[in-house]
């Protein structure tokens, strides 16, 4: 067995984990599976690409690669803008679609179907604006550096792993040590009691959308940086995202990240052992086994 699968799995897992954090937060607070979350990944990547291109056209110096990486300063700056824009998009979708449905106290199935509709609309719009042709942040070739033990990784890959790790720690601290984090946990556990305790659930919901969309944007940029950018990139990640969110335990940020890494590693192992065409089946099998054997996941609470 090629040990490189560990590195491939960790890198794919980091992207899955970041996306799964958004799914798990949305599910634990809004109580529905948001199938439009994958589109935030795609939109995040395209918005970063467009902003990066715009910045590059304003100043060519911003396109000059930073140190060993394949991208210039235009990309980190574009990511900041894209995170804000993707968060804004999520808030817009909530204001136009999910918010009015919540007001009418719509059933969970209505919310899920609405998220399917939003997913289709957002993806089609993306395809209409950017076409379905794959695009890249950079076409520069990167040499993978030997890390020992038969493992190799490019500087971009190592940076992505580091960013994912920093973000998970940051989100965990936000949830456990800050006022807004405690409010999010409170709304997740008992929205009515949270209201009685003076917590504005609408503010918490807005924070969750922004946080989830921001992380999805970064996952999209990572995917775009390491693979390619396509309108279907987020949709294709949905199954592993849900597998990771459920395996990690709904509401658990460290759980989602750890489960993302497990799903990523399992997919990489599956690709090596049985072939790339079975990649999606691996996430599906994990999803089915978790739902059958431990529906609360690794870190979730049993109902």
């Amino acid at each position: 067995m090629n040990p490189q699968l560990i590195m491939d799995g960790l890198i794919a897992g980091a992207m899955i984990g970041l996306g799964a954090i958004g799914i798990t937060l949305t599910y634990s607070i809004l109580r529905f599976a948001n199938f439009a979350h994958g589109e935030m990944i795609s939109w995040g990547a395209y918005l970063a690409l467009a902003t990066s291109g715009l910045l590059g056209s304003l100043s060519g110096a911003l396109l000059k690669p930073i140190g060993p990486f394949s991208f210039g300063w235009s990309l980190p700056l574009a990511v900041l803008a894209a995170v804000a824009l993707t968060a804004g998009l999520a808030l817009l979708v909530d204001a136009l679609l999910f918010g009015p449905l919540r007001k009418r106290r719509s059933a969970v199935i209505i919310m899920v179907m609405a998220s399917f509709g939003a997913s289709l609309a957002l993806r089609s719009l993306l395809e209409f604006i950017f076409t379905s042709k794959p695009v890249y942040f950079s076409k520069a070739l990167q040499i993978a550096l030997p890390l020992g033990g038969g493992l190799r990784a490019t500087p971009d890959q190592l940076l992505s792993l580091a960013v994912a790790a920093i973000l998970v720690v940051a989100i965990h601290i936000l949830l456990t040590r800050t006022a807004i984090g405690r409010s999010m946990r409170a709304v997740s556990e008992n929205q009515q009691l949270a209201g009685v305790a003076g917590i504005d659930a609408r503010k918490v919901i807005r924070t969750v959308w922004m946080l989830g969309a921001g992380l999805a944007c970064i996952a999209g940029v990572m995917a775009g940086l390491l693979v390619q950018i396509r309108p279907y990139m987020g949709f294709d990640l949905l199954l592993p995202l849900f597998a990771a969110a459920i395996l990690g335990g709904i509401g658990s940020v460290p759980g989602a990240m750890l489960a993302g890494l497990i799903v990523g590693l399992a997919e990489a192992l599956g690709v090596q052992l049985i072939g790339a065409e079975w990649r999606a089946a691996v996430a599906f099998m994990i999803l089915v086994f978790v739902l059958l054997l431990r529906p609360q996941g690794l870190f979730g609470r049993a109902e």
Partner: protein, 250 residues
């Protein structure tokens, strides 16, 4: 000579319920004076819990008004009511069980200005030493009585003018009920106005100033707690006594 004490909280022709065409509370006029402890009694299904939940903003109000110290809070959202000085302790699921005792209190303290938060948490720990002993303990691991104390502490952290409790004795042993009620009386003695919905009538009447009786969503009777405790109708309905002249069935 002093004038009549101001009303701390009142309702006027309050109609409330989960469905607009099925009101559970039907035109209740109720008033509690500042510093009073009033117990709300009534048979099962009388609408007691719905009445206090409507005041707290958890059940839709279809008509009528709720006034808090002269300010109309009928349309004030639930999460804003605590900022106006109205605290509510639900009957069940009244603490965040997955969070620590300390986080439960910090969460409630969020509505206070930053500089006051740690002082109020410290005040509450002084008032409830049981909670101070293990602040990092997960609230779900507390006993029934300790949970009620945490729920009350959470509500008190904002120094409310009116505290409403929905059956705080539910599911507690008689000894713990006495402790909880003694604590509530002590809180009331500090000047906090308390509305208490209770099934444990004897114990509640012992600490209450006044009682209000709801029947079928309407306020049927009210009066001083001491008088009501002696009232044969109340005694028959809520204290398990038989009316005079009726022989016990063999």
């Amino acid at each position: 000579m002093t004038g009549p004490q101001p009303s701390a909280l009142s309702t006027r022709a309050l109609v409330a319920g989960y469905e607009p065409d099925l009101p559970i509370v039907r035109g209740v006029d109720f008033s509690i004076r500042s510093g009073e402890l009033v117990i709300v009694l009534g048979p099962n299904g009388a609408g007691k819990s719905t009445f206090v939940k409507a005041i707290a903003g958890l059940v839709p109000i279809h008509s009528g008004a709720t006034m808090l110290g002269g300010f109309d809070i009928t349309a004030v959202p639930t999460h804003e009511k605590i900022r106006h000085g109205l605290a509510f302790v639900p009957q069940t699921e009244n603490i965040f069980a997955t969070m620590s005792i300390h986080d439960n209190l910090l969460l409630a303290a969020n509505v206070l200005p930053k500089e006051k938060r740690s002082r109020r948490v410290a005040d509450l720990y002084a008032m409830f030493p049981d909670l101070a002993a293990r602040p990092s303990l997960r609230a779900g691991q507390l006993s029934g009585g300790q949970r009620q104390m945490l729920a009350v502490a959470r509500a008190l952290i904002v120094e409310p003018s009116v505290l409403i409790l929905d059956e705080p004795s539910a599911g507690l042993s008689p000894k713990i009920v006495q402790e909880v009620f003694a604590q509530l009386k002590a809180i009331n003695d500090t000047g906090v106005t308390i509305i208490l919905v209770e099934q444990n009538v004897k114990a509640a009447l012992a600490i209450a100033d006044r009682a209000a009786i709801l029947v079928e969503g309407q306020l049927r009777h009210e009066g001083p707690a001491a008088t009501l405790a002696e009232d044969p109708i109340v005694a028959e309905l809520y204290l398990g006594a038989r009316p005079a002249g009726k022989a016990a069935t063999p």
